[in-house]
Symmetry: C2
Subunit: 785 residues, 2 copies
């Protein structure tokens, strides 16, 4: 490839990067033209309904499907025995197989065979002509269980004799990491603070539940699959378990109505649908209902941190120790042990922590398996660390702001290479100034006015408090992403990307990046993704990686297109290449009026003409952008909460959140990401929890029991984004911003509640329910009486 | 690319090329698993029915669609005015636009606007919820016509005042070519023979009529199209007329139930279906019925040749002159003026003709437009030339065999470069020995025994005769074809090709070529084609080009795969690359037992691993095979016919046909091609004709009036294939064999009829109907009485 480091766009040209253009996705979504998998109906399609375990832990003695098979309209009923030959759903090898060879032990069969490990686990499957018939028939399947004791708590799971995987125990993976001399730090500490923190089990709840449509072509043994998020991983895993070539599992685009990480797995239901479609030679459609979604889509977050810090007399951290119990539920899914790995390192945050050691237990329990949910590992670790800092500030006798200011990394600390790996890459913090960012944020909101106002409100008898949480994200995760830019003579540009659109606005952002480098209006640029025929190799959208990785690939492809256009235009215009410039989507001679648009150049490169010259037809380029560097956006979330002692309710008086973005591609979509994340963070802090009965029966299986923050619970989110530290690790200078907004919310909300209630108690587990607030307020008032 | 001229296959390896393996296509076709476009049904699809002109030439005064629109279930009725903004269907520029800029004048609008030029021309379109409703409603559309005189004969069309294209006249293109001094040849000739020959209007009649299904994705302005044969050309032309990027018209594979050239155009109906689907945002399905097919699918063949030859006293040709009138029907379609161009040159055949001149008039008339039908130009020109040679043999007083033997090219004449271009490439005959081939063929069948037997049968009172036709084809037509070979860890290989499967067995042949170079059983090789997402650039299957061009691309891709496999295996096995050999689908060390299969190598190149090494994932390669050289298979067709004077019927006592194949990839599919072509050649000689009333009303609009040779009319075809002259122009050494079998049939059958009837008359037009045979026999008998 030619050297593409030279910027193709002169500074006089229009800049599309940084513009708040309207979302390209919205026209089709808002006008009802978007096609979701549930909208797809195919002739002769069958509907899949899953029979799920009603016990958290049991032996399966017998599955009786006779009545279901006899039900009119039923075409096939499957049990675990029918699919036992498929084995379990393999994990993609993200480099962990060698380190933890045992992880495949904990993978899930498509349908349970001899035992079930959580309520909601697929046990049998009914395929019928009609979805209602399928549901009715599924109720006719009877399963004989021998119930076993349920293991639910991740700490207790390591002590009990009850083994989910007999002979293996309940610890799936143990991660031990660290740097520096932690013991020495604790020996010389002036202050030691320690506490146990718990984040509750909750998860992303996208508007669209999981679904898929699998259309077989029996004559060619090909499956066409729609509805699955991560098309490339899913293609590979489905192909492997079915024994087909990857290219015979052809993933076709449909819209994804929200992901947040929790729809990104290759779920048992997908495997059942694909196997049945291939077996029967008929399309199979599966759409789960909301109750299924609550027990069978991946959960997240349930972690216990036993965190302790060694500090000097001034409150400077000398060392940190953590023991983490990560409740993985019953099986390992695709994102594991990735989330555990991230959890174990992100504890250190954007702080100058000279020594650190951590032990993480990835524990198997009789709950729904977990996956990556927005800010995986970050939300939990940040809650623990920031809460411990609040505790430490009291011990040292300085303010919550001051202890952070003294410990946050500053520009003079950089590059900060403590010597620890996260997802197999060294964690090194190389750009920015978190301490300065905190001060800028406080200046921006006039921090003293918050304090004054809070005091004033308390004087009026109101229970008002402020909480602060500092955050760091790890965004971007290798190794590469693919992209292509194709200019059409019809006056449009097609961008192909390995990323996928899950609501985050990636089509908009990539169209801006292409627009910038082609100097063509983004309205003329169509972004195509999630189609393995058109994009046979790609990685996908997760870990806040798409803007940097997919954007990097699109940028390189666009630069290559411009380079090719100049080469061709030089001949077409008879002007030396060095005199040519890109101006408004055309290649123009800098010394005359001669000019030719990219569209026209493309039109002149029909295949016959191009091949005659041994050139590729059209005006297009493909790029593979490789970047192993993660980037580390950081920020602070500060909230002011008023609680109502009479009801236990609360009001966000102010909700302020910041991030150092490197460089925003689209400030409007950045805002959207931050606001959406903030609301989900509030959900985890105050509302959402997948609670269980003691026998492992889930309590929250509908929106009556699983509370979500709705529009009326949404605060007015004040956002402050700095672009002080453009990322040195990628040419877009961008940092991944899909998750920053959620990370510190749990910590900040907990601190604000403690401050508002003023009972001296330290919130160490979330969510904090209205009941708990009510009780604490009542106790406080009794004490005060 | 690395140097791929080195053969990758050692002679000890198994050879798949040359094996009569069973057709890979047949399992799905014979078990009903194959998917034709007519099998595709999509939710909310509408059915298209075309209202067709009932006059051959008329002004359209008014189209009344009010009743049709009111018909229940009708969603849209379109007239020419609705689609006038689209203009006419553009021709692909195959290099003729510059030479004959007027050709776009003669292109067809999707629906007629102010006038109609043939019976069957689309005038209006009805889209309804049901195909029967659409058909009923179409009958409610009334059109006011002002009828104009019809021009039907291509010779008369140049003399009449009636102009189909007012102000332009009826000659679309005039081609004038030649070489040598023809006038001098005729001046010094000992014998001059001249005659006018006519081939009747007939065409390919595939089992599957034309159809298409167009599925729009309104949210992304994309059309998915199935059912169209030449996906790459169609994609470009449909996109251009609709103003869309090529890549937004995504062609998806469905089976093609026969093509023979006549389904290869971008027909008006396709444009109407695509426009309506996009306009309505609903899928549109169109399946024509057989009667529509007879008037609206492209016709072929109707030509008049005024041919004259100058010979010396021994019957050696000194020069040849031809004036050709090619009846193009009412419009130019994609293959024009290609067929005219080929017609004008192929007249010379595999003969040593020192001088030649030709004038071809591509004439527009009020008949259905014509296209390329198997052996286009060759069947017609060969009929004229071979018949004239028969006439000349009588004039000179030598046998039909002898005059050919004296004039056929021999090895000593080669290379034969007479200095004339065909389809913009020089015609040069460089390999083989047509004269020797004729003698070999005669020896093979014991020619004298044919003569003896014929005499003996005549002695028994039977009307038996023999006819001979020598043929040369022009196979392969540039410029390139694309191909890819992808090895999967699942133990299969996917071959992607720009060719398409139209019944000819290309999947089988390409799987053999890949098998040969990978040393993998063809059963494990899946050939994928006719999908513009997977094969964005390709040319297609026509002009007997696929084996050479697509085969060449697959061969290069397979060689590149083996080269990559050796490079990778060298590291994997720790063996120097030069010690590695391809053995049974594995890369093996020639000095040890070390070996690794291609499948396993592919499995080790998952994207993460490969990208880390800056390599492409998997084990795959893509190739573009370029070859401007056409190849010239040749042969002879000899038939022995018995006619029944009482009925005018006939029996093929013997049907013998030969070809010099260069190198057969699959002798069984070669036989299939030759037999199928022979039967179609018989159809054109004896049965098939699109006859017209004087006012331009077609007579043959069903199989009651358009006679096809059926199984009972099929002779037992004796085939003799030589591989004496492997093509020097391509590494497979192959020649295109899809059309050779049809080329000389008309000539040989006509000669045999004359010989059998023995009335001294010279058959100069085909088809020769039973009525004509009956009349000639009756006249002969009367004369004899």
């Amino acid at each position: 490839m030619t050297n593409l480091t030279e910027p193709a766009v002169s500074t006089r040209n229009k800049s599309w990067i940084g513009e708040s253009i309207r979302r390209r996705e919205d026209e089709r979504l808002l006008t009802g033209k978007a096609l979701f998998a549930a909208d797809i109906d195919l002739p002769h399609q069958l509907h899949l309904r899953i029979v799920r375990s009603t016990y958290a832990h049991a032996r399966v003695l017998a599955v009786d499907v006779a009545d279901a098979k006899r039900h009119p309209g039923v075409r096939l009923v499957l049990t675990g025995d029918d699919l036992a030959h498929l084995g379990t759903i393999p994990l993609q090898d993200l480099g962990y197989h060698e380190e933890y060879p045992q992880i495949e032990t904990f993978t899930q069969p498509p349908l349970a065979t001899d035992r079930v490990l959580y309520v909601g686990q697929p046990v049998a499957a009914v395929l019928a002509e009609d979805p209602y018939v399928a549901e009715d028939a599924a109720e006719l399947v009877t399963v004989d269980y021998e119930v076993l004791p349920a293991v639910l708590d991740p700490v207790e799971a390591l002590a009990t004799d009850v083994e989910l995987y007999p002979g293996v125990g309940n610890e799936g993976v143990r991660i031990e990491k660290g740097y520096g001399d932690v013991d020495a730090a604790f020996q010389k500490a002036a202050h030691i603070v320690s506490h146990e923190y718990r984040t509750g089990r909750h998860s992303g709840v996208p508007m669209e539940t999981r679904n898929c449509v699998v259309q077989p072509d029996p004559g060619r043994d090909v499956l066409f699959v729609s509805g699955i998020v991560h098309v490339h991983d899913s293609q590979k895993v489905l192909a492997r378990i079915l024994g087909m070539p990857d290219t015979s599992v052809r993933m076709r685009h449909s819209e994804i109505g929200g992901n947040f990480g929790v729809k990104g797995d290759i779920f048992p239901e997908y495997v059942v649908a694909a196997w049945a479609a291939r077996h029967l030679g008929r399309p199979v459609k599966w759409v789960e209902d909301r109750s299924e979604h609550m027990v069978a889509t991946s959960h997240a977050r349930e972690q216990v941190h036993r965190l302790e810090a060694a500090l000097d007399a001034d409150g400077r951290i000398l060392g940190l120790r953590d023991e983490i119990f990560h409740n993985h539920g019953a099986y390992f899914r695709q994102a594991e042990p990735l989330v555990s790995d991230i959890t174990s390192v992100i504890v250190v945050g954007p702080y100058r922590i000279p020594s650190y050691s951590v032990t993480l237990h990835a524990v198997l329990t009789n709950k729904t398996p977990v996956a990556a949910y927005r800010g995986p590992g970050r939300y939990e670790s940040t809650f623990a660390r920031e809460r411990l800092l609040d505790l430490a500030s009291q011990t040292v006798g300085i303010s919550a702001i001051e202890i952070r200011r003294r410990n946050l990394l500053t520009a003079s600390d950089l590059p900060w290479n403590p010597g620890i790996e996260m997802v197999h890459e060294p964690y090194h913090f190389v750009s920015g100034d978190p301490a300065e960012h905190l001060d800028k944020a406080l200046t921006h909101i006039d921090w003293d006015s918050w304090l004054t106002e809070t005091e004033q409100l308390r004087g009026e008898g109101k229970s008002v408090g402020i909480g602060v949480g500092v955050l760091m994200d790890k965004a971007g995760l290798g190794l590469y992403e693919t992209g292509a830019v194709e200019v059409s003579a019809a006056g449009r540009v097609r961008v192909l990307t390995g990323a996928s659109s899950v609501g985050q606005g990636i089509e908009t952002v990539l169209s801006q990046i292409a627009a910038e480098h082609l100097q063509i209006d983004p309205e003329r640029i169509d972004v195509v993704h999630s189609d393995t025929d058109l994009v046979p190799d790609g990685v996908g959208s997760w870990s806040s990686r798409s803007t940097v990785l997919a954007g990097g690939a699109v940028r390189e492809a666009a630069l290559a297109v411009v380079a090719k256009a100049k080469r061709l235009a030089s001949t077409m215009l008879d002007v030396p290449e060095e005199r040519l410039r890109l101006v408004e989507g055309a290649i123009a001679d800098s010394e005359s009026e001669a000019s030719i648009s990219l569209y026209e150049i493309a039109g002149r490169r029909d295949p016959y003409t191009a091949r005659l010259e041994d050139d590729e037809p059209g005006l297009a380029a493909h790029a593979v952008y490789r970047n192993n560097e993660m980037n580390y956006p950081y920020g602070v979330t500060i909230v002011q909460i008023e609680v109502d002692p009479a009801t236990g309710g609360h009001t966000f008086r102010r909700f302020f959140t910041t991030t150092e973005a490197g460089r925003m591609i689209n400030p409007m979509t950045t805002r959207g990401q931050i606001i959406g994340a903030a609301v989900q963070g509030i959900g985890g802090a105050l509302y959402e929890e997948f609670a269980y009965e003691e026998d492992g029966t889930p309590i929250a299986t509908s929106f009556m029991d699983y509370l979500l923050p709705a529009a009326q619970e949404m605060p007015d989110v004040e956002i402050f984004v700095t672009e002080d530290a453009p990322s040195p690790d990628n040419p877009l200078r961008a940092k991944g911003l899909g998750e920053v907004g959620i990370i510190a919310v749990g910590a900040a909300v907990a601190a604000a509640l403690d401050d508002a209630i003023g009972d001296g108690l330290h919130t160490d587990r979330i969510p904090v329910t209205p009941q708990r607030i009510f009780e604490r307020c009542r106790s406080r008032n009794k004490t005060a009486d």
